[in-house]
Amino acid sequence: MDFLRPASWEEALAAKAEHPTAVPIAGGTDVMVEINFDHRRPEYLLDLNRIAELREWETGEETVRLGASVPYTRIMEELRTELPGLALASHTVASPQIRNRGGVGGNLGTASPAGDAHPALLAPGCEVEVESVRGSRLIPIDDFYTGVKRNALAEDELIRAVHIKKADGPQQYSKVGTRNAMVIAVCAFGIALHPETRTVRTGIGSAAPTPIRAKAAEEFLNAALEEGGFWESKKIITPSIAKQFAELASGAANPIDDVRGTANYRRHAVGIMARRTLGWTWESYRGTSRGSTEGVA
């Protein structure tokens, strides 16, 4: 094994081009587990810790350009206003020690359907900035996940940042697990209201081979809210609409039975989380209760 320690992003890209099998390591919270347990013996480890810009973010007009290695701790402490859904999701990641090291780039690189960040990236909508010596490109998040632990990266590409739409309305995130800390999601659900475009977007984690959106549920809800004039009137969403939204979200899931839960349970839980998070965000939109960044029950 060789340990590559590029001092700059350009050096990292050159190293990845020269050694396409090199495994990038930033927080190490996935990679080191695999090495410690002898599940993986990469020829090259490509350490990204020396590249300071990966730990930085910029807040623009419409998006936050979030460096791939910005630790979850920083996201939950400093980006609650711009990225409330991702801040909530970040808070559910493992433990303080893990949140101090791990970042969104790792979740995207690993592309596990159980990565906590995914639903909170799908719901607001984002683009993943990847780069190689050949050039840079932005991959829409909807095209990023290509299979179980597979993503759209070419072998010489590295994830540099994620361009996430700043919240224009309430967002929520919900995760089912056996306890609050140190838990891999049984399943998870993210939702973002976009009052500017009068749309609602969702993200589902751990309930399909890849993180997915509940597109049929979104389409139904968008049409129902428009038809009923809910965005203007801010009236309470009728239980039948919420129920139908939940059923369609549940139907979008394509889960498996595993040690953490059964497929049936996951389908059920996704529906419950969809209904609840819709309720929380809508109440927040109506301005009647808790703010968009508070409270996950």
Binding site: D2, M32, N49, P96, Q97, I98, M182
Partner: protein, 203 residues
């Protein structure tokens, strides 16, 4: 490969480090500092918690090469670290350039020497270590080093933590003996003592 980093305020060097080796392995097996415990090796238990440039991390998930040129504090250096912090206000890391630190030999030979309850003498412990002993928060002791490092860091950031703050800060550290109540007591005790001795400091 060779790896150089600061441990408990002193520069150290490790040779023949395997590229996939963890910081924890280097600390324990190459530097003779077994205070940080090796348990789950997957970041679940927090027994190997150390501070990397001041930030609590699981040493088992840091590749040794990633520690190159950086600053590590282990439980063996915690007493000294806390002392430096008390004396210099806020920063006990070697990172802020304070001389001293704990030599590798001292760290290797470090033993818990609590305050003598009769004479009040001894006392080579950090306040959090003393509080763990006084509150009976140590049973088998395996989780203790990680908990001490995590709790000490929280008290540095948050001198008057609520119970929820303590639970959150220690949520990455598993203890299978105590049921956590005595650990909660110990952290509350350390916080109370800290506010008594330094009422003007902190938030």
């Amino acid at each position: 490969m060779r790896v150089n980093f600061t441990v408990n305020g002193r520069p150290q060097e490790a040779d023949d480090v395997w590229e996939g080796e963890s910081l924890l392995y280097v600390l324990r097996e190459r530097m003779g500092l077994p205070g940080s415990k090796n348990a789950c090796e997957q970041g679940e238990c927090g027994s190997c918690t150390v501070r990397l440039d001041g930030v609590p991390v699981c040493a088992c998930l840091v590749a040794a090469g990633q520690a190159e040129g950086r600053d590590v504090v282990t439980v063996e250096g915690l007493a000294d670290y806390a002392k430096q912090r008390a004396e210099h206000g806020g920063c006990g890391t070697g990172a802020c350039g304070t001389p001293g630190g704990t030599s590798l030999q001292d760290a290797q030979q470090w033993q818990a020497k609590p305050l003598d309850s009769q004479t009040g003498e001894g006392g080579e412990l950090s306040p959090i270590q003393q509080a763990f002993i006084d509150a009976g928060a140590v049973q088998c002791g395996f989780c203790t080093p990680g908990l001490l490092v995590a709790a000490d860091e929280m008290l540095e950031r948050n001198p008057s933590p609520s119970d929820a703050d303590i639970r959150e800060a220690l949520s990455g550290n598993l203890c299978r003996c105590t049921g956590y109540e005595k650990i909660m007591d110990a952290v509350r005790l350390a916080a109370a003592r800290q506010s008594e001795t330094a009422p003007s400091q902190g938030a």
